[in-house]
């Protein structure tokens, strides 16, 4: 077992462990922490696969920005994992859900085991790649030539998301911003009357 394999095993185990712990938490803050753990381990796998740039992006953007946004919202809403998560009767038992998901996973694993990719390469082996495979320059060149159209689309998507987030949280007519805790009567939110002057 060489170092490469060892690193793979460790990061794979950590990634799966992080994911599992994430869904097993009641407290969303802990969940976020476990997800970050999983993502860091995945970033290691990225690097192993030659995706240096994306590995960095994963940690900086994903763990560093997106998940922090999650944390921010959790703090904002003041969730501590003690909220009403009571058991209603469930139409479909948890067991069925597990069985279905695991069936699905096994199906996909069966695909990996039976079908293989590119008969000319030895089964499951990696081809050797160029020195700059996955470097910033190589990815960027591709991104700004062949993929410039989807790149622009991604920009539009972000614009729509920003506008959308604003629309959802801010009332443009009255200029009120986030007002956590002063939720209207949940029975009749339509008839809530604003008392102006609240900036």
């Amino acid at each position: 077992m060489n170092l490469d394999t060892l690193i793979f095993i460790i990061s794979a185990v950590v990634a799966v462990f992080g994911g599992t712990m994430m869904i097993a938490q009641r407290n969303p803050v802990l969940s976020v922490m476990y997800l970050i753990l999983s993502l860091v381990a995945q970033a290691v796998l990225y690097v192993q696969l030659g995706a240096l740039f994306l590995g960095a992006i994963l940690i900086i953007v994903y763990s560093g920005a997106i998940l922090v946004l999650f944390l921010f919202v959790i703090m904002l809403l003041n969730l501590r994992g003690t909220e009403d998560l009571g058991h209603g009767s469930q139409p479909i038992s948890r067991f069925t859900k597990f069985v279905l998901s695991i069936l699905f996973v096994f199906e996909l694993i069966a695909v990996v085991k039976t079908g293989f990719i590119r008969s000319e390469s030895p089964i499951g082996m990696m081809t050797t790649v160029a020195e700059d495979f996955g470097s910033v320059k190589a990815v960027a060149t591709l991104l700004f030539t062949k993929y410039v159209y989807p790149f622009e689309l991604a920009g539009i998507l972000l614009l729509a998301a920003i506008v959308g987030a604003v629309v959802m949280t801010r009332d443009s007519q009255r200029g009120d911003s986030l007002r956590i805790g002063s939720a209207p009567d949940s029975q009749a939110p339509d008839i809530e009357q604003e008392t102006g002057g609240e900036q």
Binding site: L35, L58, L69, L77, L108
Partner: protein, 100 residues
């Protein structure tokens, strides 16, 4: 040398965990994070295939998917805030006014 299938299987397992998370989690925020995990699993698959075939297109795609994930997170969290203001719960099972 680690085989490609090893990476892909790890990705599939992560995807499966994400799926289970969506199916069993009552907490809206954890549910979102499960979806994020699923997207990341798909990303890992893409990168593994990219490496195996020496094609960089997969990397670009992953880059774009990260953008999508960010956009979805922004929108989703905005919705969570609105919902929490109206309902004061993030228990997904409580949102069942519309049914049948």
């Amino acid at each position: 040398m680690i085989t490609l299938s090893a990476y892909v299987i790890v990705a599939i397992v992560l995807f499966g965990i994400g799926t289970i998370g969506v199916l069993i989690s009552r907490n809206l925020i954890i549910l979102f994070m499960s979806v994020e995990l699923m997207l990341n699993a798909a990303n890992l698959t893409l990168i593994a295939f990219s490496r195996a075939m020496n094609v960089l297109d997969g990397h670009v795609f992953v880059f774009l998917v990260l953008t999508i994930a960010a956009a979805e997170a922004a929108v989703g969290l905005a919705m969570v805030i609105t919902l929490f203001r109206n309902r004061e719960t993030i228990n997904i099972d409580r949102y069942d006014l519309l049914k049948w």
